[in-house]
């Protein structure tokens, strides 16, 4: 149970799976960078990178070559050990946390069940929150290790901002936990599968055409969670840490070349966690609109008249595609918001976190608890 499996085969599969998910995250970053640059160009009525390869897609390869040929620089005033540790550490929390998010229904063979995720954690939310709260160390290590005032100020601002919004984030999740009564992400997705159904005062309301997604029960929580997730991943409109006009580039002022790229991988990793959690909590995870995984597999078996084995594989692929589409929509919203909204001022940022989002998240928790209590305690 504590180790990675019972047999050598299972251990090997689990190890390969984690490495695979990690490389999927890493190779998604250049695609997102391309999307971000083309997307910003589209929003600002420019061309963007369009010379290298079709639609500028090979631009990424050119960028990687450029990063690799940059000379390796470390400022003399800084602490070299922490300066080099910080970018390596930037990769770790994002990747480890993302692996706990389920991406499709399990692939069942005769003797094994393969989960389409890095690993199954039975206290998924607590694990992801705990691991991603370690990201503050990356920023502090980079800021202090650079030995520059701009870096230190940027690190200070970024960590104060991250911890302020972690409160609203944690409190918005309480509503989700109340709704599903579990910490486990797979159980949450199961609770959202199928058609809309809701029990209150002993009656059950059903709507077969609508999905049973969390957004219908937790709209305020979803907005608060998504806004806090922007702040957690240091994206505009919350990118005070790297406000170019004030702090040059914040905590990574002194970084360049591949080390800079590793910070980017970390930042995009946090974006991916936020999108993945948003999909899992409020948009049904991998589940397809108003259908349970069993329905989907049955449908494949019936319409294509294939064996259960093949139907299971098809269902895994269909659910994975469904997850990817939802996931991509949220990543696009991240990019779109970055090029739409202006940056906050620092006091506005702190006011929004502490005086607006925290009270709203509290109210959301209290109302959710009251509604759950009243509707299930009193039976008319």
């Amino acid at each position: 149970m504590l180790s990675m499996g019972n047999s050598t085969f299972e251990i090997a599969i689990n190890a390969v799976k984690t490495i695979l998910v990690f490389f999927m995250m890493v190779q998604a970053v250049p695609i997102l960078v391309w999307l971000e640059r083309r997307g910003s160009a589209f929003i600002q009525n420019r061309f963007g990178p369009n010379r290298v390869g079709p639609l500028g897609l090979i631009q990424l390869l050119a960028d990687a070559v450029k990063f690799l040929t940059k000379e390796d620089f470390a400022p003399e005033a800084g602490n070299r050990f922490l300066f080099y540790c910080a970018p390596v550490f930037a990769l770790i929390p994002a990747a480890i946390a993302y692996m706990a998010i389920p991406m499709s229904v399990p692939l069942v063979t005769e003797s094994y069940t393969f989960l389409i995720q890095g690993y199954e954690v039975n206290v998924g939310i607590v694990f992801i929150l705990g691991i991603s709260s370690l990201a503050a160390y990356t920023i502090l290590m980079a800021g202090w290790g650079s030995g520059s005032k701009f870096s230190l100020m940027g690190a200070l601002r970024a960590s104060a901002q991250i911890i302020s919004y972690e409160l609203a984030l944690g409190l918005a999740i309480v509503g989700v936990i109340l709704l599903y009564g579990t910490f486990n992400l797979t159980e949450m997705i199961h609770a959202q599968a199928g058609a809309f159904h809701f029990s209150a005062f002993g009656y059950t309301i059903t709507a077969p055409w609508a999905p049973n997604w969390g957004i219908f029960y937790q709209p305020v929580g979803a907005i608060l969670f998504f806004a806090a997730a922007f702040a957690e991943s240091n994206r505009l409109p919350f990118d005070l840490a790297e406000g170019e006009a004030e702090l040059v580039a914040g905590f990574h002022t002194e970084y360049g070349g591949f080390k800079m790229l590793m910070f980017f991988i970390g930042e995009y990793g946090h974006m991916m966690i936020a999108s993945g959690l948003m999909v899992t909590f409020y948009f049904g995870g991998y589940s397809i609109w108003a259908a349970t995984p069993a329905d989907v597999q049955q449908w494949f078996a019936d319409t294509l008249s294939v064996s259960n084995q093949v139907a299971n594989i098809l269902s895994v692929i269909a659910h994975f595609l469904c997850y990817t589409v939802k996931f991509a929509i949220f990543l696009w919203i991240f990019i779109h918001v970055r090029w739409t909204l202006p940056r906050f001022r620092y006091d506005q940022l702190m006011d929004l976190g502490w005086k607006t989002m925290l009270p709203w998240a509290l109210a959301n928790t209290i109302i959710t608890a009251t509604v759950i209590f009243v509707t299930s305690y009193f039976i008319l």
């Binding site: 149970m1 504590l2 180790s3 602490n79 206290v123 705990g130 709260s133 160390y137």
Partner: protein, 184 residues
């Protein structure tokens, strides 16, 4: 050696080594980062005891909040003077000797206590039974909730008041003028 035992010894080694480096490092930043690493190691040890929720709390509160504050404060002070004051001088020497004495006493005590408990546990098969019970019933969060909100409800509410008092005290302290680090 089974994989569980290997995992335990590996985590114990990580935790003890990072705990030692908290004391032995001369740079306070490295000490604080080592302490954070110790917290992460302790959290992983909680997982080996099936206390998943507590492991998460250890990560969120200690590694993610308390140690971030420590590292933040240490990084933003110029620590050269403070370092000199704490590593030189007669009183510091006396404190060092006293700490070594207390530490060796603690180690001796822990080893003797540990040996006693180990023998009693192996004599009765209760340890094995407890392990089996843990493996079959991993829902420790519910037991925790029952303890916290039903059995010890008064302590829980008192804790809320205590946290409020701490918050008020912090704000009051941050308002006070004077001291060696006063700005104006």
């Amino acid at each position: 050696m089974s994989s569980d035992a290997f995992l335990f010894w590996f985590l114990a080694l990580v935790t003890v080594v990072s705990g030692l480096s908290v004391v032995l490092m001369t740079n306070p930043i490295y000490s604080a980062l080592s302490l954070a690493m110790t917290m992460i190691g302790v959290s992983a040890l909680f997982v080996t005891l099936n206390a998943y929720f507590l492991a998460g709390v250890q990560l969120i509160v200690y590694a993610g909040a308390v140690m971030v504050l420590f590292v933040m404060v240490l990084m933003l002070f110029d620590l050269k003077h403070e370092l000199q004051a704490f590593t030189r001088g007669r009183i510091t020497g006396a404190i060092k000797i006293a700490s070594v004495g207390i530490l060796s006493g603690l180690i001796v005590g822990a080893v003797t206590m540990g040996l006693k408990t180990a023998t009693t546990l192996t004599e009765s098969a209760s340890a094995a039974n407890a392990a089996v019970a843990l493996k079959t019933n991993p829902d420790t969060t519910r037991a925790l909730a029952e303890n916290l909100f039903i059995k010890n409800i008064f302590g829980f509410e008192a804790l809320g008041v205590l946290l409020l008092v701490i918050a008020v005290g912090t704000v009051a302290l941050s308002r006070s003028k004077g001291g060696s680090h006063a700005r104006d």
